[in-house]
Symmetry: C2
């Protein structure tokens, strides 16, 4: 994990850019920690951005800062495949993803390994250590996050949503998720079918799962669900101090 | 409104039994207020109990006390038709309701007028006054509460749930509800069809509505949804002091 440039601090939150080599890819990321954080075990939330967003999209940054400011947690985000700093100049995310659907699919599947190695590297940081970890990701953040959370025993709470599976699918990744999940649905989602969202919630293997449904389009998740996300992590990512 | 017996106070919550004559019926109720409450405007939550429960069922009492203790609100509950103190000795609620389904239906429809007159009487109390009012009621509390809230302009926030309407019904009462609603669904409800619950949420006319879905049977609503109910009323029943 190579840190890029100087750490920046804003109202108690220190932000550091990093690059991590994973296989043949360089994965660009950011880690947020409390200013002057003492070494020690600290809960960490991994934040997976949505489609055509990036590791420092306004909603990612806002969530990261509130987790640090309100809870004293650490947070981290990486650019998804074909997103953010991984987009060459002169081409859009959409064009890039449409170039080769097969390659896009392969890269998305590889993203769970990028998260896994990012988490391993983050846990080496003295102010994070080997504490409880959560994952937050909606829409594309669930496309990548669902199979990641399903296959990552180090994740002990997740917020997922704005995504579905066909009601007749086997939903193997969803079934394999066992940590407590807050699942967010937009009732008038114009991109994801309502019945598919309900089927995904239904299929989640977690004993503790709760679904919050609000009216509105795909990207109109109300601000109070970000507060609910924070509460979910506060409840399940406890550190005995 | 006739108060019955002495007021009882427990850990800051004063509880008073009352009877209210509505048409030919005597409606038995309880009002909870902060101990030694000063006269003045105070938010009030009306609590409609579930089937075969009564005005002082454990979940009703617990919700009333937390609204008083945490928020300084007032709360009130009445026995539903054919329930609680309105059940003659020697017969069960179920037997009573099955005696004449037609009479039961008529009494349930009349219950909204009982709530209306109860609210009018409660607003005369100097420590409640004409402040913002909410309604909380699941299952039978929604059967009675939905048409009540739909026809009661003095209700400005509601928690409803554990009830549904057929997807092809007109849902006139649901459409007529316009206040902010928190709607609770138990995903494995053995009494109410899942699709009917979703149809009722879908049909609610409220612009601000949010649905919380949890795994489990009809009467297994998790305790954190009672906290969510409190938060809903705290958000929408504000008094400028």
């Amino acid at each position: 994990m190579d840190f890029i440039g100087e750490a920046q601090t804003s109202r108690g939150v220190t932000e550091r850019r990093f690059d991590l080599k994973v296989d043949t890819e360089v994965v660009p990321g950011i880690v947020w920690t409390p200013e002057n954080a003492e070494p020690g075990i600290r809960p960490l939330v991994l934040i997976g951005h949505g489609g055509s967003q990036h590791k420092r999209a306004p909603n990612v940054l806002a969530l990261a800062r509130r987790l640090v400011r309100h809870l004293g947690f650490a947070a981290a985000a990486i650019d998804g495949p074909l997103h953010g700093d991984r987009v060459p100049e002169g081409i859009s995310v959409d064009e890039l993803m449409q170039r080769s659907p097969e390659d896009t699919g392969r890269r998305f599947r590889a993203a769970r390994e990028e998260w896994r190695e990012t988490l391993t590297a983050l846990k080496q940081l003295p102010e994070i250590g080997d504490g409880p970890t959560g994952y937050w990701g909606l829409s594309m953040g669930t496309v990548i996050g669902l199979p990641y959370v399903a296959s990552e025993p180090r994740i002990s709470a997740a917020v997922l949503g704005l995504m579905g599976i066909p009601a007749d699918s086997r939903g193997e990744a969803a079934r394999a998720v066992t940590c407590p999940v807050l699942f967010l649905v937009q009732w008038d989602d114009e991109l994801i079918k309502r019945t598919d969202c309900l089927a995904l919630f239904d299929t989640l293997g977690s004993k503790e799962k709760t679904m919050h449904v609000n009216p509105g389009l795909h990207s109109s998740v109300p601000a109070f669900e970000i507060k609910a996300s924070e509460d979910h992590f506060a409840k399940y990512l406890k550190v005995d101090r």
